[in-house]
Amino acid sequence: MLANYGYKDGSGDYFITVDTDKCNGCGACVEVCPAKVLELVEDEFDIDAETEVAAVTEEHKKKIKYSCGPCKPASGYSITDLPCVKACESGAIDHSW
């Protein structure tokens, strides 16, 4: 399942997408995120799921624009070398910027 966390407001799109089918719950992204935006949670969408999946924390959902600011292209990052994207071996994380 594709989980799009974040929002769209008058200034643009701010979404982090986690593909829960690809995510194996290893937690590497949680470790490397400098802003601590991600966490591992129980897969609420699949009652039978045995592993946890990565998700954006409740605290950061409404301020991704700012929380993820340091990892935006303006700060010298391209989409492929964002810490969380790079850390994810299964390629489960994507961003809207």
Partner: protein
């Protein structure tokens, strides 16, 4: 002094935003002979619903405003759904809480996110052909893709911006002095579509509308400008995950033809019709999950 202030005016007549609370029971069903009686309680930011199902069929529901106390709202809603049915909380085999206040449903067996519940509920209400569900709630808006069993395949949530939500419509009903149940129809009574209000934020949209009223715009035209702004905003949001047929809208805004018709036109897809209350989709989904959880537990 304080007492004099209270007497200044009767505010009751001025509550245009206050939508109709309701409850319903299916007289043809009897819970006493049922194998599984399950309940779902959806405590939202603006409204709370409780749905009771007997063996996977909708038996009773209630739909009311959420108060300042979530557990209290959940209790009130389930009590109202039970009214005249003879049901007591002890008769429920399983209950699932959902919505913003899902962790605050005191008698729930489990809390499940409202995204999963809305998909499951829409699957029940509109049939298995539904692939895209748009839940237009009181304070946020969610777009969901699901499969033929109502399982979520992708979702998108706009949980920061109040543009395109029920609360925004309530604010406009109050500003214009038009009852919330009538704003949609009224917004369609314009000869020509006015340009949509440009502000994204409800508060700014409201001040923009005040300006339009001062310019002499009739209420119908102001409502049309707001409804079309809302429809446009939602269409914009939906673009991110796309709209697959069949398409269904749940939540309170689904009852507002002013937004629904404009949105259908913009997307080029008509949403599926239903005779059920669109606000109870989340509670129905939760009750279906409760039933599934109970059956799973019994098998073990």
């Amino acid at each position: 002094m304080a007492e004099d202030y209270r007497m200044v005016k009767d505010v009751k007549g001025a509550e245009y935003w206050r939508w109709t609370e309701s409850r319903w029971t299916d007289p043809d069903l009897d819970w006493r002979n049922a194998e599984v009686v399950s309940a779902g309680v959806d405590v939202g930011s603006v409204s709370t619903q409780a749905a009771v199902m007997v063996d996977g069929k909708l038996y009773a529901y209630s739909n009311m405003r959420t108060g300042s106390d979530s557990p209290e709202s959940a209790n009130k809603a389930i009590k109202w759904a039970f009214e005249d049915t003879g049901l007591t909380p002890g008769d429920l085999h399983a209950t699932v809480g959902t919505g913003y206040g899902r962790v605050n449903v005191p008698f729930a067996t489990k809390a499940i996110t409202e995204i999963a519940c809305h998909a499951r509920g829409a699957n029940f209400m509109y049939g298995p052909a539904v692939r895209t569900v748009l839940d237009m709630g009181g304070q946020d808006c969610k777009a969901i893709h699901c499969d033929e069993r109502g399982k979520v395949k992708a979702f998108l949530m706009n949980d920061k911006c109040a543009a395109g939500t029920g609360r925004g419509m309530e604010v406009f009903a109050d500003l214009l002095g038009v009852h919330i149940n009538d704003v949609g129809e009224m917004s369609l009574k314009v000869d020509e579509e006015p340009p949509p209000v440009s502000s994204t934020c409800v508060v700014f949209a409201k001040s923009e509308a005040s300006g339009l009223l001062r310019e002499g715009w009739p209420k119908e035209r102001v409502l049309a400008a707001y409804c079309s702004a809302m429809a446009h905003r939602i269409a914009d949001l939906l673009e991110r995950i796309g709209v697959e047929k069949e398409f269904a809208i749940t939540g309170g805004i689904a009852k507002n033809p002013g937004v629904v018709k404009r949105l259908a036109k913009e997307l080029g897809i008509d949403p599926l019709p239903t005779d059920m209350d669109t606000q109870i989709a989340g509670a129905i989904g939760a009750a279906l999950f409760a039933r599934a959880l109970y059956l799973k537990k019994m098998k073990k």
